[in-house]
Symmetry: C2
Subunit: 482 residues, 2 copies
Amino acid sequence: MSNEKSFHMTPDEFRRHGHAVVDWIADYQSRIESFPVLSQVKPGEIRASLPADPPAKGVSFDAILGDVEKLILPGVTHWQSPNFFAYFPCNASGPGILGDLLSSGLGVQGMLWSTSPACTELETHVLDWLVRMLGLPDKFLSSLCKSGSAGGGVIQDTASSAALCALLAGRERATQYNSNKKGCDGRLVAYASTQTHSSLPKAAMIAGVGGDNLRLIEVDENFAMRPNALARQIEADKLAGLTPCFVCATVGTTSSNAMDPVAKIGEICRSHNLWLHVDAAMSGTAAVCPEFRHMHDGIDLADSYNFNPHKWMFTNFDCNCFWVADRKALIQTLTILPEYLRNQATESGTVIDYRDWHIQLGRRFRSLKLWFVIRHYGVEGLQHHIREHVRLAQQFADWVRKDDRFELAALAPLNLICFRHKAGDEANQAIMDRLNRSGDLFLTHTKLNGKLTLRLCVGQTNTQARHVENAWRRIKEEAGKP
Amino acid sequence: MSNEKSFHMTPDEFRRHGHAVVDWIADYQSRIESFPVLSQVKPGEIRASLPADPPAKGVSFDAILGDVEKLILPGVTHWQSPNFFAYFPCNASGPGILGDLLSSGLGVQGMLWSTSPACTELETHVLDWLVRMLGLPDKFLSSLCKSGSAGGGVIQDTASSAALCALLAGRERATQYNSNKKGCDGRLVAYASTQTHSSLPKAAMIAGVGGDNLRLIEVDENFAMRPNALARQIEADKLAGLTPCFVCATVGTTSSNAMDPVAKIGEICRSHNLWLHVDAAMSGTAAVCPEFRHMHDGIDLADSYNFNPHKWMFTNFDCNCFWVADRKALIQTLTILPEYLRNQATESGTVIDYRDWHIQLGRRFRSLKLWFVIRHYGVEGLQHHIREHVRLAQQFADWVRKDDRFELAALAPLNLICFRHKAGDEANQAIMDRLNRSGDLFLTHTKLNGKLTLRLCVGQTNTQARHVENAWRRIKEEAGKP
């Protein structure tokens, strides 16, 4: 084609090196259980192995890939190990990885409908599929959008960004879109439970509402928000001349998987005209199985809802699905188009410019990986694996219940089990530290009622019965040590 | 291993399907010039071709990949075509794509140092490399961080998010970290030029500062901010009892590639103790060539700086590099850790928890693709291609200058040429529409001094002399039509 000098990788070189990377990943998947789950390196160890200066000249791709094995892998904590039970899953799958690869290959920037219509329309379509798959209310469907007041869904990066967008929309609705123009006035108030995710205080700080003005409402004995306490706080704030604007209910808290009572909270929000956001970051995926949908009771009262396919639905990070009942409220909050440039096409749903649905302006073609995952598994396959994860977690809970030395520390409605050794904080810390140092599995902890509590979360794609059985065996083993 | 029922893709299936996707992308790269650059589909056309209901059962991977070709490709606007001259480049490359593939395969979530030390340390290291590669001031180096007051770099998703983080840090510094607690008070003021990117007004709205309180400072005949006008406005705002907190200077505006005078703006910021953020989203990449670094004169006065390797440095979206001179100011703004949990390890640089350096909490292993790109090309290769892009753009500018029917509409310091046909707006609109409809190339427009102006931006990875020559030939051809 040209004899111009070039350092670019040609399509044929890409083919060859691409096969090598795919092979590397396939091999990684096959040998993943041979690595310690939690990386064992010391701070600074990885940096120290890298050359101080950037390379003046390029090196071969084989050398780069070799360095991944040699220099990077020892510093990896293996989130894709079936023995990863920490935090929450961030699971991946073959179809998810390959959908994302295709997104990188197409290299599309979907800020506007016109900058790649397929990027926008596939996303809208797949998010409508998910409304059906999770049994969410019709008001979240884009396909029902005939006028500016209907809803729709968008892929965000994370639940943190979704919560921020929801808070902003609530802030603007409560101030008649005046905070956007004049700035916040120090009188806005928002609400979540004491068990809410740390992204909510962060969102309140970012949005100019202020961390102190996010009221953390007390919870009941199961760590779920007390609706009466919420109602009382709203009344008190209104009496004090403040402006309540937003409530976040959590369906499956990060700490203990507690389920806030969405229906009761929703009625309170409705009566005070507050934006209700429902955060189901991990647990939302369970709603693909009808038998778990009761956690969503009252969701028809929500203004926005989100869950993360990148947590428990085999779609690699990042992929958060966020729906609003009133797209106009979201767009009016986040658009940077002056009034005279807004048009019926974008607000009526003929065309969506997703740039106006989130914080960033640029965006990659993230719906591909979600589409790949849903089509590869089918609803049937997703249900099978989610049910199996819940079954394994419940089996673990039974083992804990039946062992006199241990106790459950919270309800365990789905795939997260909070438990502890009865000997107290020090013993639990020691058990966890020894397990994590062993590399055999990775657990994390939380505090519930002031007590250090171990968390075992089942959700990694390839976790099977034998991994959970081994986890329980190892926990008992470490608990038996002096 | 197990006879449990599974819908998962096995490592061997992943290997086979992964090779097929790699081959598809290599073929796509080879035939990309055969597609119309701008997708020619009508609104709703892609959605209409997709089944209304989600699939109950999974389908074969071959069927999914076949549907990409059949259903998705017609709706793709080909940002990776060498005939893409619109907006700004969002270029990709073989090493970038494969680095990102590896990130998906490892499936690491790098919110904390401990959740994957290599994810954090490679990022810190590569961002230090880039300080050297772009000739940025030492104060942005993480490796010099010995105490809580030193700087460092982080990968953000986009320049929009980086600008928001910078504004928030400026807001907090100006209010002694009180806005985070109590919310904004409606008295904060920020500054940018009339030519600033739309992400700045958006950031002012999100941050509770208010769009009206982002002062858009007038520009000179070259569309660069007038420092005197900035100084006057700050004085006036202070006299009015307001709280100036932040200035954004742009090095290469999106509209016309205008260069704000950073040194003069920096002196004004210094004298008023305002946070100075420098946005070099596209143009920053040019600084890998020493001869273009004059645009950074005065950068030593900046509190933060960012550029997008995903625009012009062959690293596929998303990848924004953001540096601060004082990491403590950024962390104190964005951390959700209560004071008593902050520790010397994170603030001194022994360990970085990047969760506290941006809006989101979760994050993928984005430094891998950047590391792959830098090592594949070497500094030499990057310089070669950036110089070549600038040379081709400058050659195009010469052709415009020498053609009586056309004129340049702005200085053209690098790779973006703003030009127009002298016959007026209607003629320019018609030329652009016909070119874009032809599919031969893709151009976009701006308004400068009230006149519709065409923009030709050279930066797609594979754009060569023949593509720019063809663009000029086609532009002249369409201009010659009645």
